[in-house]
């Protein structure tokens, strides 16, 4: 095996680390903005694939695959983001004789479309939120579906993601206007005006289940994660296992995921995202058919190396373990982003004059940054994932608070001050929070600057 790492930043470093432990040679790809990056230094070989803008480098399939071809790579790991969920890319890799480390292109395609994914979930017996059966074609259908689901409802772009083409509708009277706006937004953003209607769950938690399947019948439930602390549908804090989740719910979710993975004949690592309401009912949201940013918290409590499992499965191996991994202790991750939490998390590029991350017992830091490097404006703002492990949740929270106090970053604003406040905020300390956390507890989080 020779592995092409088709990504940048901390995830490229993360993948290369496991490959090195397994003795697998690696090839990094980089844009001219990343010529001195950690991934380039750690990989055995590196190939420049273009200028800084992602659509001229990391998203150019021809150059990424070309890099694999000229270096004789047998496998490509896409990381997350960029080409990781692109079925066309996965097919092009196969055509070039390079094995894509991930699920089959057909599964990626089906699960990438919200409507098809929901149908597949329903067929696999997963509970889904009431709403329209597939995309609605006109307003009358939308009205019918909204009535069935019960207000408030959410209008979502079938082709969408990242909050665009999404509209909350509280009353039947608001629907006509909201439908028009959402449809226009969806056409503008995705070239596809398909919308679907879904019951809006309030006061819900975002909980997800990490699976790995070998496509040969073996399914591993690596554990669940609580990811409710989000801004603009992007996660900031994650923990494993999900706190205050009743055993019966947890077991039912895990079993449902095993059944779904089998029904879909899923292969590789994946995450099933759920909303869990106050009565602990769970509803399937979507499948992320790739490694996720927050996978380290699961690794810390399960003892698994998810990248190693992905590589095994991609080589046609069976999983090292199947069944349900029981969490040992508790783990929390915070995303140290180059963003200013006081101005709506505005991303900010700059040179890192100081960059010091914590150490000591129970700390894991996944980063590509070091003192003196630029955080370029062209890519996402994630600088480091700071993770802690401890025997139980209260000690994990205390450890994270300690670790955050050791962080020194100068040159760019960061999310660290916000995390320090969260670790000392009562609802978080008790593990009782929902996706509305940042809004509901803004008073206790002065860094947000909204008080």
């Amino acid at each position: 095996m020779k592995l092409l790492v088709a990504n940048r930043g901390e995830i490229a470093v993360r993948v290369i680390r496991t490959a090195r432990e397994l003795g697998i040679p690696t090839v990094a790809v980089f844009s001219t903005a990343d010529a001195e990056s950690a991934a380039v230094h750690l990989a055995d070989e590196a190939v420049c694939i273009g200028p800084p803008p992602p659509n001229e480098s990391y998203l150019v399939m021809r150059n990424v695959i070309g890099a694999g071809e000229i270096t004789g790579c047998t496998h490509v790991h896409p990381g997350y983001g960029f080409l990781s969920e692109n079925a066309t890319f996965a097919r092009a890799c196969a055509d070039a004789g390079i094995t894509f480390v991930g699920p089959s292109p057909d599964v990626m395609e089906r699960m990438g479309d919200k409507v098809q994914a929901k149908d597949a979930a329903r067929a696999a017996g997963l509970p889904v939120l009431e709403g329209s059966d597939g995309a609605v074609s006109d307003f009358a259908e939308a009205q019918e579906a909204a009535k069935r689901a019960g207000f408030p409802v959410l209008l979502k772009a079938a082709a969408g993601g990242g909050g665009r083409g999404m509209r909350r509708v509280d009353t039947p009277e608001e629907l006509p206007n909201a439908f028009d706006v959402a449809q226009r937004e969806a056409i503008a953003a995705f070239g596809d005006g398909g919308l679907y209607v879904e019951r809006l769950l309030e006061g819900a938690r975002h909980i997800e289940v990490q699976i790995v399947a070998d496509g040969l019948g073996g399914v591993l439930i690596a554990g669940d994660r609580e990811c409710s602390i989000q801004r603009r549908h992007q996660k900031l804090v994650e923990e494993a296992p999900a706190p205050n989740l009743p055993d019966a719910t947890r077991n039912a979710m895990h079993q449902a995921c095993i059944d779904a993975a089998r029904a879909w004949n899923y292969k590789s690592a994946g995450t099933l995202e759920f909303l869990v309401d106050a009565q602990a009912n769970f509803f399937f949201l979507e499948l992320n058919a790739r490694l996720q940013v927050e996978h380290p918290v699961t690794e810390l409590v399960s003892g698994l190396d998810l990248v190693a499992e992905q590589l095994r499965v991609a080589s046609g191996e069976v999983l090292s373990r199947t069944g349900v991994a029981v969490a040992n202790g508790h783990s929390i991750e915070v995303r140290v982003n180059a963003e200013d939490p006081s101005v709506d998390f505005r991303p900010s590029a700059g040179r890192l004059r100081e960059f010091h991350m914590p150490g000591g017992p129970g700390i894991r830091v996944d980063t590509h940054c070091r003192q003196g490097v630029m955080v370029p404006p062209n890519y996402d703002s994630l600088m480091a994932k700071l993770c802690v492990w401890a025997v139980d949740r209260p000690r994990a929270v205390a450890r994270m608070a300690r670790a955050l106090d050791e962080v020194v970053i100068e040159g760019v604003p960061t999310t660290v001050p916000l995390f320090k406040e969260i670790m000392r905020e009562r609802a978080f300390m008790e593990g009782k929070y929902t996706t509305a956390y940042l809004t509901e507890h803004a008073d206790a989080l002065p860094t947000l600057g909204s008080g």
Partner: protein, 312 residues
Amino acid sequence: MLASDRVTLAAGDVYGPAVSLPPDLEAAIVSRLGRLGMSRSLLEVSDEARQVSADLGGLTFAYPLGDALVGQACDHVIDGERYGTLDPILAEAVQGRFGAPRGPVLPQVQEAAVSAEVSPAGPEPSMAQLAQEGRGWAEEDLVLLAQFPDAAERLAARRASLRTEVAEEGGPAIDRAMLETLIQAVEGSTDSEGSGEMAGARVTVRRSTPAAGAAAAGPGGSTVAGPADDHMHRVLSPMVGTFYRASSPEADPFVREGQKVEAGEVLCLIEAMKLFNEITADVAGTVRTIAVENGHGVEFGEVLFVIEPVAK
């Protein structure tokens, strides 16, 4: 941590402590067995590899013997037969090509080694051979050639083309490394020029000014190109792929060094994902250097050609 009542151990912990080969070899076994659907034989193969090492007089798992030992062990496990054939490198090792074996060699192996086909000169050219081929190489270059044939050939070709470039203009051969040192010295100083003796000629490098152009020659010297800011035009690769100088293996190359080209003329092909992309000259001029060997990979931004533009 796994709940034992809900867990099935599918294939044993193949990366566990029982396997103690170097990790790269282990990974090679894993991938080879994986292709054959024989993943469960990893422990067997690693045990066999250690046995083969002992049978052959205690060979170490170092390059190139490690790969050969593992390959041999895989063959044994896959074929269910020991020493049906013997890897030629192992045969040479038994015969002492990599030094005398540390321990006794199994007689069965000894026989197999004698009957194995060993190429008379061994896989790499000997120093004597290379020296005979001549090319006027220094001994350290020959060592490079013996160890890294591809890279050394490329280096030599590049160096030769540089020499030609200068020689064509009537000057003596100039050591590029020295020249670059000189240029850097001028760039890094406040002096407007610097000079040095090279190959019996005096070379002067002057700081370029927008009007005067690039480095100019001193009296009795040669006009040469500085590495970055000179009047030479560099054609950079706009993509990643394999570099081809001709439209097919039989065809003549699109261009040769010293050839004049027009703007828009095809210089080479770069292939990625089975698609061939024509790279054209963006200026008219004379091709001074072809910086990449035919069939080699190029990355984005790599220098492909150096063209001396037609003076305006």
